[in-house]
Symmetry: C2
Subunit: 330 residues, 2 copies
DNA sequence: TTGTATGCGTTATCAT
DNA sequence: ATGATAACGCATACAA
């Protein structure tokens, strides 16, 4: 690997000059600049981003830590984030956040040490108090997707889970359903709670009985199992609200195996708008979650913070009902 | 951020000594070592991985570049690779390879500059000749997933696409099918060609007519559209071989929309063993592709190469038929 | 316009 | 056992 020194020798100039033409900072005579370019291409010289980072305390990079790679949701997130970052002339470095608060924090730390200019965290594990502290202590901007942190609203990209679940309930009610079951996410998940809460509150608002909740883990299989439990419990219901599309699909299959047709016998409403849901049989009525917009916004916000620009506060993103086949009127 | 200097001052020792206790290289009196530890924790000092990388020319990191984040396939890949790397005490840095040979190479370069100890590349774009050159020129090991490079077999983790497609064809034939259609990947994809070739060659072997191929892009929607084209062409067929599960699902839906039942009227065979395929209606008969094993092997091989250990040559991975509902006998 | 010198935070080679 | 000091490859303030 050729270094700046080699270029100096070949071009007959000093490191400062090479650095100048490289970063186009300061004035350089055209002839010497040309000589430098000559040397650079002759040696196939590439400045070491590492050394540069050490000297400038910044790379041209944004870090992203995600805590799981499951499902269409994360595919979209990563793709859009990567694309947006690239378009801004920066690079995106992705790390796995693992399955604990500690490992998420480790990933963040590692990224910070690598001198990324900002880190975007899709968190599932770190408690709000810790996040607050991180946002205060870290020398670079930290943007959070999927959670609100009090006092740092401009750095939080999140989704109105509660309102979306209300939408879901309202729709089901409008179709004449009155008895429900829920397949929701893990008990530990805040957002899972919010979705459930939004759903239940709406039922209460209409003087209906709240529904029992079965917990899954967002994988298709867990939806299948949860629905089987539900069926075994012999309770009466005409519609299921699932906390994501995967579990909705699992539930539909469980109903199918029990000889029940969706939506003729039971309606199922999903969440996420997984692209596959458009083509399943029956296709999935679901709540669209604008992941790509959220990823885009997260990166944009990061870029603004890096440039020390005015930070615009961000509204909670909200869901949209996608009406397809899996919900029918009673 | 506290640096090594601060530790020096507080502990009353030199940089060399701090470095010694940090890396446990060389002898240090217990008392002074303790003093250093004291200072370190008092200042919450973390050595800069960047500076360390500059000095040692190596980080404890493996780089992974993937060219797309679509589908369950990549989720598994990323998850398993990350997990395996972590278990080996290293970190995994992931970068998007984008959609061109150039961007893939850029990602590799960027990772190399960051002094990762090895890079694993899931390639879709870079031609073999370029890969060969990269493997020769790069100062660190480059492991390739999804393509064979002549002369570097120990560094290539790939899948016997051809044989898997043969399996698929044999199975369909064993069920009495004789007229087929294929929905395959993009024309540019080598593996897509291999799958198609394996399928066609098997038909030829049994003196059957080869089938026409429709190209998709591995997304569900493209399977849907391809199948509609197929249907519009009015050709006669009793089974469809799709190059991945997503497209198989899209095809099934297209058939459904055309009033055709799977598998009663038409059989559909997928590829990948997407976890969701177990729960679709009908569930998907498919070829399992051992992504996780491949990811695991890639990381393990990388680790061996980093340690300059003997490199064990790797056999081509092969697929396994998963029999479910979407294929029936004629 | 160009060069010198210093710093970035480590590791590593010498001495001592 | 420990301490100077030179690398590592670059940026940059200051001189010239």
């Amino acid at each position: 690997m050729a270094t700046i020194k080699d270029v100096c020798k070949l071009a007959g100039v000093s490191k400062a000059t090479v650095s100048r033409v490289l970063n186009s900072t300061g004035q350089v005579k055209k002839s010497t600049a040309d000589a430098v370019y000559q040397a650079i291409s002759a040696l196939d010289y590439k400045p070491s981003s590492l050394a540069r980072a050490l000297a400038t305390n910044s790379t041209n990079t944004i870090g992203l830590v995600v805590s799981a790679f499951e499902g269409a949701y994360f595919s979209s997130l990563l793709r859009k984030a990567s694309q947006t970052t690239l378009q801004a002339g920066k690079q995106l470095l992705i790390m796995d956040g693992g399955h604990s608060s500690a490992s998420e924090q480790l990933a963040i730390e590692s990224l910070v040490e690598r001198k990324v200019d900002a880190v975007i965290l899709y968190t599932r594990q770190i408690p709000e108090a810790v996040l607050k502290q991180l946002m205060n202590d870290l020398s670079i901007p930290l943007i959070i997707i999927n959670q609100q942190v009090e006092g740092f609203e401009e750095r939080c990209i999140s989704f109105n889970q509660y309102e979306a679940a209300q939408q879901a309930a309202e729709y089901l009610l409008s179709k004449g359903h009155k008895e429900f079951a829920c397949i929701t996410g893990p008990e530990s998940s805040i957002n899972s709670h919010l979705r459930l809460q939004g759903f239940q509150d709406t039922l209460i608002k209409y003087n209906l009985q709240t529904c029992t909740a079965y917990h899954g883990d967002y994988f298709t299989q867990s939806g299948y199992h949860a629905c089987n439990e539900l069926l075994a419990s012999k309770q009466s219901f005409t519609a299921i609200f699932a906390a994501n599309d995967n579990m909705a699909m699992g539930a539909i299959r469980a109903l199918h195996d029990a000889g029940l047709q969706v939506p003729q016998d039971i309606s199922v409403l999903g969440f996420d708008n997984d692209p596959a849901g458009e083509f399943t049989i029956p296709s999935l009525t679901t709540i669209m979650l604008p992941v790509e917009e959220m990823a885009y916004t997260a990166v944009k916000q990061a870029l603004q913070l890096i440039d020390k620009q005015e930070i615009s506060t961000i509204a909670l993103f909200s869901g949209n009902l996608i009406v397809r086949e899996s919900v029918d009127h009673l």
